[in-house]
């Protein structure tokens, strides 16, 4: 087939392209990711028994805010990386800001605590299960966000996979925080982050295979 024949074929009956496909596809993916994580959490873990009291504590909302900010920044990164030729630019700052903020808060909290009690703030009582459970709850969102991204054209596949993994990790962490009894900033700033970085690393590892087009 000659190239002008191909041009003819592509142009014939091409029709209009509906706008806002990215918003719709990602919204569907996020909704199913959150739903999947919530179902997994309800089936395996259940919400923390004192959730009604916990929502009155400021730290509960700080934790939720930290995760929500990372979810939003990750989503912005995923949206930009879904389109050829768009660079991350300021989104890098948006990704770093919540992490730096929680680390700063953790440093202040640790500095104002007796040396003997610092370890407890850092390890809490669930450090050994938190990252893995966050990663587990992120699995449905991981599949959903990768599906959303497959409808677009990422050209930097490792980075795009990592962004998809981060969004999924943040969704997992968001739902996990309704179960998790820990509220200390040093705990959240390390173990939650580690939990979210597991799907991020998986995304970076498998991005080139999952997202190729």
């Amino acid at each position: 087939m000659r190239t002008d024949e191909l041009v003819n074929m592509l142009a014939t009956g091409a029709g209009a392209v509906p706008p806002n496909q990215a918003a719709r596809r990602y919204a569907t993916a996020l909704a199913s990711g959150v739903l999947g994580a919530a179902l997994l959490m309800a089936a395996l873990l259940g919400p923390r028994p004192d959730l009604a009291a916990a929502v009155l504590l400021p730290m509960f909302w700080v934790k939720l805010g930290f995760v929500a900010c990372l979810a939003t920044a990750g989503l912005l990164a995923a949206l930009r990386l879904s389109r050829p030729g768009l660079r991350l630019t300021w989104v890098k700052g948006a990704l770093a800001a919540p992490v730096l903020a929680i680390w700063l808060l953790a440093a202040v909290v640790l500095a104002r605590t007796d040396a003997a009690q610092r370890a407890e703030l850092f390890f809490g009582s669930t450090w050994n299960s938190c990252p893995l459970l966050v990663a587990l709850l992120s699995a449905p969102a991981f599949a959903a966000v990768v599906w959303a991204m497959q409808g677009f054209a990422p050209t930097r596949l490792r980075l795009a996979g990592a962004a998809a993994g981060l969004v999924a990790g943040a969704v997992g962490a968001l739902v996990y925080s309704l179960h998790c009894p820990e509220l200390a900033a040093p705990f959240v700033g390390f173990w939650y982050l580690l939990g979210m970085l597991i799907p991020t690393a998986v995304g970076a590892l498998f991005g080139p295979r999952l997202l190729r087009w």
């Binding site: 087939m1 000659r2 190239t3 002008d4 191909l6 041009v7 003819n8 074929m9 592509l10 142009a11 014939t12 009956g13 091409a14 029709g15 209009a16 392209v17 509906p18 496909q21 990215a22 879904s82 389109r83 050829p84 030729g85 768009l86 677009f152 054209a153 050209t155 087009w213």
Partner: protein
């Protein structure tokens, strides 16, 4: 001075191509055809420069990139420079091709070097070595027939549905999936 004129000329080209694409995305068929025509000339020039050692691959890659850009035209963000979008896709396809060749060359000795190659002008649409028409014939009927009727014969969705006995939505899905399958075949995945 000359530099400024050169930039102006490029900006004017970009602006023109961008407005053709935006009109095409809104459903203006002649504008979309003009966009693809200018795009293929632009791609030929872009890829010829970067595939100087592999002149035989240029037209194949022009076609592969055109097909990819058509299938992915919904990923263009109206706020971004069009050349950034075009070059990102062309580069992605170029790297993909070089990887494929590297893998193949590990298995077979590259003996197909040709040196006496007269290059046609960038605007002249050459023949590709890969025949998309033959690939099209390999698609299943539910994808091939909608593509043949709609995209080669220029029939409407309704006429194609009547002719094939498929529903109108099945016709649309068939065209969409068929074009993606064609791109996958070109890439060597299927």
């Amino acid at each position: 001075m000359q530099r400024i004129e050169e930039t102006d000329r490029l900006n004017a080209g970009e602006e023109r191509l961008r407005s053709l694409l935006l009109r095409g995305l809104a459903g203006d068929a002649p504008a979309y055809r003009a966009f693809l025509q200018e795009l293929s000339a632009h791609l030929r020039g872009y890829l010829r420069k970067r595939l100087a050692g592999l002149p035989d691959e240029v037209e194949d890659l022009v076609q592969e990139s055109l097909l990819a850009m058509h299938n992915q035209r919904h990923t263009y963000d109206a706020g971004q420079p069009l050349t950034a979008w075009i070059h990102a896709i062309a580069k992605y396809k170029l790297i993909d091709l070089l990887r494929r060749r590297a893998r193949r060359d590990l298995l077979t000795d590259p003996l197909d070097e040709e040196f006496d190659f007269a290059s046609p002008a960038d605007t002249e649409a050459a023949d590709a070595r890969r025949d998309l028409g033959k690939l099209l014939a390999q698609l299943p009927d539910r994808q091939r027939l909608p593509i043949v009727h709609m995209k080669l014969d220029g029939l409407s969705v309704a006429e194609t549905a009547r002719l094939t006995g498929m529903s109108e939505s099945a016709v649309k899905v068939g065209v969409h999936r068929g074009m993606k399958a064609l791109a996958a075949m070109v890439r060597g995945d299927a």
